[in-house]
């Protein structure tokens, strides 16, 4: 019957098909709450766990202080450690005891004041203070080294003052740490975590849901309808995009109000770059599902290709500039890398256009590339 044929131009018909598809997708989302859980519950749980779990601020480092011969000189030095919030010192009498504690992982380091410490202090040359740090965790060891050096130099200054001759240090280092003066690691880790969590959610949302349609054969059923391939793609992306943006907004709100990370950029820029990144993540998920065609493989690829690379290669924790050149090239194909940089800048530094523009451009290129690849793979399957 001619009457049932949709009226209007091709654009209007396309729009009708699209809205029909989106309605179908929306119904599916509501019926199976797992995608709502992925979009909203997952980011909240992960952000809470990570926001509190990932920290590089070491405080109360357990340390053994060996005082072989206690005296006023040693007492002044030990007091420096006892007063510091970076250390929780344990006084021991012999180095053997301390070494045993280090082996048992009860302390991370040893400060060793030998029996002749006081005598050496009065002598012509400098007395020596032995310090042993467990170097297994190199980064932590370096942080502890910095703390010990800090305690030592304040002690020297105080000692010089007490002796009536202020310590003369030729050159003093005046440090100014921009954007994060109090050096809270959470301030840079939480924005990075948002990027990682959104990579996960975006890819999971589409990878699993679309792979399921392939597996059940409903994708083929969709393809024999007059719906065009790009309409199917759009119909898949738009609903999950809306879900994903909701998750993103939730994460940003938590970063600002729960974790008290300062936000110095502007919200329109944040919104635009977040939308771009989410599109890229969704497109990557679509690509995974189109390539894998079954949930088992799609899921494994989603886990392997998203979370760990985003965690390790995005510059969120490990400095990209220090990686070998070959690995640096690999990081260019990690979408999270660009968003981590954007988010850290927006949160801590503000709208720095040189950072935002370059990274957004890279994201845009990746997004288009993924979508084109998806489009090509989908066409092939129709043949």
């Amino acid at each position: 019957m001619k009457g049932s044929k949709p009226t209007g131009g091709p654009a209007r018909r396309s729009l009708m098909r699209l809205s029909g598809l989106m309605k179908k997708e929306a119904h599916q989302i509501v019926r199976d709450p797992s995608s709502i859980a992925i979009a909203f519950v997952l980011p909240v749980i992960l952000l809470i766990l990570f926001g509190y779990g990932v920290s590089l601020d070491a405080e109360h480092v357990p340390i053994a202080i060996v005082v072989e011969h206690a005296g006023t000189e040693t007492a002044g030095f030990v007091a420096g450690f006892q007063g510091s919030r970076y250390f929780s010192p344990r006084i021991m009498n012999t180095i053997q005891m301390a070494e045993k504690a280090l082996m048992r992982r009860e302390v991370d380091g040893i400060v060793w004041l030998r029996g002749n410490f006081a005598r050496e202090m009065l002598g012509p040359g400098p007395a020596s203070i032995g310090v042993i740090v467990n170097g297994m965790d190199a980064n932590q060891a370096r942080i502890i080294e910095g703390y010990v050096t800090g305690v030592w130099s304040t002690w020297q200054e105080r000692l010089a003052l007490e002796r009536g001759s202020p310590l003369e240090i030729p050159v003093a280092v005046e440090q100014r740490i921009w954007f994060n003066a109090e050096m809270r690691s959470r301030n840079f880790l939480v924005p990075g975590l948002i990027a990682i969590i959104m990579t996960l959610t975006g890819a999971l949302l589409t990878a699993m849901v679309v792979a399921r349609e392939w597996e059940r054969g409903t994708m083929e059923a969709l393809m024999v309808t007059p719906v065009r391939v790009q309409e199917i793609l759009l119909g898949k992306i738009v609903p999950y995009f809306i879900l994903g943006m909701g998750g993103m907004a939730l994460s940003v709100a938590m970063a600002v109000w729960v974790f008290h990370v300062p936000f110095r950029g502007s919200y329109p820029v944040l919104f635009a770059t977040a939308a771009l990144f989410l599109l890229t993540a969704l497109a990557m998920g679509l690509l995974i599902s189109v390539v894998a065609k079954n949930q088992f493989v799609a899921g494994q690829i989603a886990i392997i290709a998203t979370f760990l690379p985003a965690f390790i290669l995005s510059g969120f924790l490990f400095d990209i500039g220090s990686m070998p050149k070959a690995v640096q090239f690999v990081t260019y194909i990690i979408a999270a890398r660009y968003f981590v940089s954007i988010l850290q800048t927006l949160f801590l530094a503000g709208d720095v256009w040189s950072v935002v523009a370059w990274n957004s451009m890279a994201l845009g290129v990746m997004c288009v590339l993924f979508l084109l690849l998806v489009r090509r793979r989908m066409k092939k399957r129709l043949e």
């Binding site: 509190y52 280090l102 400098p126 170097g135 297994m136 050159v171 280092v173 954007f179 994060n180 690999v330």
Partner: protein, 369 residues
């Protein structure tokens, strides 16, 4: 009973190995991840980019800057002439630090007045900022010592002699690569077992298996063993790579390590089966794997120390098998730890493993009848 279990196990392994896609997922990613992450995951700054803003024309400032330049970790990429040029360099992440020397630097030094070196650091990553500052400070300390000696000033009353045990050059890779052994083994064994039952349930072959004389316990064991065997094989391969490719020193003994690996796989496979028995569809199984895996990695001490977490989160890490095995691998590698030092790390994993397997068995039976 044993023959039935072995038959089931062989069937499972064939099912995994015969499917080319699952086979690739099993072999390719762990190798690629080990190589890429092994090189990427380092806290050592080898390429600190910095700019110099020197207003002083004297010899002392040149000496100090030459010391910075001589350090293999520092790469000067710009010299600026005014304050205004500093901000764009740091904002745009062109440099990590700007070193500023004022106009009176050399004069002050020569007259015995204190001089200062200003360092502006990009704090967007506070960890790298701290490392950069520590580098700069150690270079300035060296300069100060040389300057005082040249002038014949009295030396400081006490010196620090810092030594690092187990990792004298503080190479992050020695810490991260053994960690990857534990991490990648967990990913593979968990994925295998968690998805194995859900996949059969969706395909309908699980009901067929129930119709065979196999008992639920036997099905459970048959499903657990492949993850165990393949996990062992993967772990061994990654261990060999860590020793012979990455040259991480292996100072301990094989036996304490493999006892730990055994317990670890027990708990990983147990967790996988628990996820498997709880989920009806593969999507649920995958989500479950995710919800276990991601916190397990973050809260394990793999990348950031457990000691830095708030106490409540620290208690949570006691439930994480990865936490224990990470310490075992690293201690055996670097500290040559013996059985008695590791004893209190073995039993929590065994408890977690047995508890998870028993829960999985109970859930299986409840789902079956």
């Amino acid at each position: 009973m044993l023959r039935r279990i072995i038959a089931l196990m062989i069937k499972e392994i064939i099912a995994i190995v015969a499917d080319p896609k699952s086979r690739i997922v099993l072999i390719g990613p762990p190798i690629i991840q080990l190589l890429v992450f092994g090189y990427a995951a380092t806290f050592d700054l080898e390429h600190v980019t910095y700019a110099v803003y020197n207003e002083d024309r004297g010899r002392a400032s040149r000496d100090l800057l030459a010391r910075l330049e001589a350090s293999p970790n520092f790469h000067r990429i710009a010299c600026v002439q005014s304050d205004r040029e500093v901000r764009p360099l740091i904002d745009g992440r062109k440099v990590m630090a700007v070193v500023h020397i004022g106009p009176l630097f050399t004069e002050n030094l020569l007259r015995g007045r204190p001089a200062s070196l200003q360092v502006v650091v990009d704090g967007r990553n506070s960890n790298t900022a701290m490392i950069v500052l520590n580098y700069v400070r150690s270079i300035v300390t060296g300069f100060n010592r040389a300057w005082s000696e040249a002038r014949g000033d009295a030396p400081a009353p006490a010196d620090l002699r810092i030594r690092f045990w187990f990792n004298p050059n503080l190479d992050s890779r020695w810490f991260i690569v053994p960690g990857l052994v534990a991490l990648l083994t967990l990913v593979v064994s968990l994925l295998l077992t968690a998805l194995s039952v859900a996949r059969e349930r969706e395909a309908g072959t699980f009901d067929q298996m129930l119709a065979t004389p196999l008992r639920p316990v036997e099905i459970l064991i048959g499903k657990a063993l492949p993850g165990f065997v393949i996990g062992m094989a993967e772990a061994t391969f990654i261990l060999l790579m860590a020793i012979f490719w990455f040259h991480v020193p292996f100072r301990g003994a094989i036996l304490p390590l493999y006892l730990g690996l055994f317990m670890f796989l027990l708990s990983a496979v147990g967790a996988g089966l628990m996820i498997s028995s709880l989920s009806v569809t593969q999507q649920q199984a995958l989500l479950g794997t995710f919800l276990f895996l991601v916190p397990a990695i973050i809260l394990s001490g793999f990348s950031t120390p457990i000691a830095n977490m708030p106490p409540a989160v620290q208690y949570l890490t006691y439930l994480n098998p990865l936490r224990y095995f990470l310490i075992i691998v690293r201690s055996v590698f670097l500290e040559a730890a013996s059985f008695d030092l590791l004893l209190n790390l073995y039993w929590p994993m065994a408890v977690i493993g047995v508890a998870a397997l028993m829960t999985a068995g109970w859930l299986f039976r409840r789902r079956l009848y």
